[in-house]
């Protein structure tokens, strides 16, 4: 009944979307969930939904919004379950789930601006002082602990943390126009930023 060629064409399109967006949404889920395996499972499920509902043909902006809605809600449900089950058992896990739930529920669609802003972030990082840049790279890209970074660069942990602080502060300063720290919420922010980038 279903044409073989058609399936392979659809698969190709879906694969393209998957390769383009998986790691980004995985990164978001990891940011809010304490267990990366949970995050992986959850984001995979979302992509399977994307296939099942044939949404992968929609324009990219809509697709991203759809995946974000899906993944945020899945993460929120996951965190809510965790809050319930960990309440009396694991105070650290409970605290993490509570904080992350609160943060995620206030995270707007402007987090999707990544593809538009990645160049600006790259510039912001390369504008850091060499030592600052090295510390940031080792922490963010090599996932090294502050202690390991201190050993490798032969500086104190204090110096590592001071450099991290400076790095984040400077990057935030350069990206400030694109971060919605004022009242305007995600969506309108998203569109005004998109408009300003055009």
């Amino acid at each position: 009944m279903v044409d073989r060629n058609q399936i392979s064409f659809q698969k190709e399109k879906f694969e393209h979307i998957y390769n383009r967006y998986f790691s980004f949404f995985f990164e978001i889920a990891c940011q809010f969930l304490s267990n990366n395996e949970d995050a992986k499972e959850l984001v995979q499920d979302a992509f399977i939904k994307l296939w099942e509902k044939e949404i992968y043909f929609k324009p990219e902006q809509e697709l991203k919004n759809f995946l974000f809605i899906l993944i945020r809600n899945k993460c929120l449900n996951h965190l809510r379950d965790q809050k319930k089950s960990l309440k009396m058992v694991d105070s650290r896990g409970y605290m993490l789930a509570t904080i992350n739930y609160k943060l995620l529920s206030e995270t707007g669609e402007d987090i999707l601006l990544h593809h538009e802003l990645i160049g600006k972030i790259q510039t912001a990082i390369s504008n850091l002082s060499p030592q600052c840049q090295e510390v940031f790279r080792l922490s963010r890209f090599e996932d090294l602990s502050n202690k390991k970074i201190a050993e490798r660069m032969d500086i104190s942990i204090k110096a590592v943390e001071a450099n991290m602080t400076r790095a984040l502060k400077n990057i935030r300063q350069e990206l400030l126009p694109y971060l919605s720290e004022n009242e305007t919420s995600g969506m309108s922010r998203l569109y005004s930023v998109l408009a300003s980038l055009l």
Binding site: Y18, Q44, I69, I99, H114, T165, L168
Partner: protein, 326 residues
């Protein structure tokens, strides 16, 4: 301040100590602090995408999962037809009805405007004030006789951008309250059928007076909610965008129960929800932003993906469609 910076960094690196987490939780009680952390999280997520070796899961893994699941996969073309049909209907209802009534006994002219069922109406009043009228709402105004006040009467929801005129105060009268302003931007919700009256102030200053004579002064970003059934008044700091997004054709849900969502959708689309399983109304929460151009079919489809439920729809044109949730 330094201490906070370390808290932030450890949190992003996911190696906060228990004490730091506790401090974090306390620190995050301030909205401004949450926003700040949220910005850092975004930067963290974004910069993570520059990793030379990104965590990847081979496409084949996910494809195998799909192949195993796909025993009876029926493409849902039906939704597409439903969406097109709904779009056509929406255009039909987009009209605004204007009635001009001349009052015989006085020379004043009262004008009544009823918004259509589906599109927002944007009205410029004689004093150049702007009103966005929510679908299904009615607005009446009388600026004709006497020049000392501006009075409008509202049943439903409207967003006002009032021109400043100190000599002529602007008052919105609703079934439960009067809202008096000088020059400002604010949203009012009060239908006769509902027990709730809401006013959200975006800019400026307004005075909210209940119909039993109690007055409250609102500051920007405050929302006042009067419940005539419980006879309570709540004054809260809110994100005004959530209450005014409708004027730009957006529907925003933030951790809202299905019951609330259904009520909002009923006011936007020509539908009525019936909960066949009453627990469903409060069992799930959902967040998301839709544009008004999104058809109700697509909105339901999105909801259904996040919330396990059965949706059945009965068309009753021109009466609102019934949507059964189970």
């Amino acid at each position: 301040m330094d201490k906070i910076k370390h808290l932030l960094i450890h949190f992003l690196q996911k190696n906060s100590s228990n004490e730091e987490l506790e401090e974090m939780e306390h620190w995050l009680k301030e909205t401004a602090n949450r926003r700040m952390l949220s910005s850092y999280q975004k930067l963290w997520v974004w910069s993570g995408q520059l990793k030379p070796r990104k965590p990847q899961i081979e496409f084949e893994t996910i494809w195998n999962k799909i192949e195993n699941q796909r025993t009876f996969h029926i493409p849902r073309h039906i939704w597409k037809y439903a969406a097109v049909l709904l779009l056509c209907l929406n255009i039909g209802w987009g009209a605004i009805y204007l009635f001009q009534q001349k009052n015989q006994s006085t020379l004043s002219q009262s004008i009544e405007i009823a918004a259509g069922q589906s599109a927002n109406s944007i009205i410029t009043l004689p004093d150049q004030s702007l009103v966005y009228l929510h679908p299904g709402s009615r607005l009446e105004y009388d600026f004709g006789s006497g020049n000392d006040s501006r009075d409008v009467f509202l049943d439903g929801e409207a967003y006002f951008e009032v021109e400043k005129d100190v000599k002529r105060p602007f008052t919105v009268h609703t079934s439960k309250a009067d809202i008096r302003v000088l020059g400002t931007k604010f949203n009012v919700f009060d239908t006769r059928e509902s027990e709730i009256a809401q006013t959200t102030l975006v800019e400026g200053k307004v005075e909210f007076t209940t119909n039993y004579g109690k007055s409250y002064i609102l500051k920007p970003s405050q929302m006042i909610e009067l419940n005539t059934e419980t006879k309570t008044v709540q004054l809260n700091q809110v994100n005004t965008e959530l209450y005014t997004a409708w004027k730009d054709g957006k529907i925003i849900f933030r951790n809202e129960s299905l019951g609330n969502i259904a009520r909002k959708l009923e006011r936007t689309y020509h539908v009525k929800f019936i909960f066949e399983n009453p627990d469903l109304a409060s069992a799930y929460e959902f967040s998301g932003t839709f544009h008004r151009e999104t058809s109700i079919g697509e909105v339901l489809q999105m909801l259904q993906i996040s919330i396990p439920m059965d949706v059945k729809r009965t068309e009753r044109f021109p009466e609102p469609d019934l949507i059964y949730l189970k």
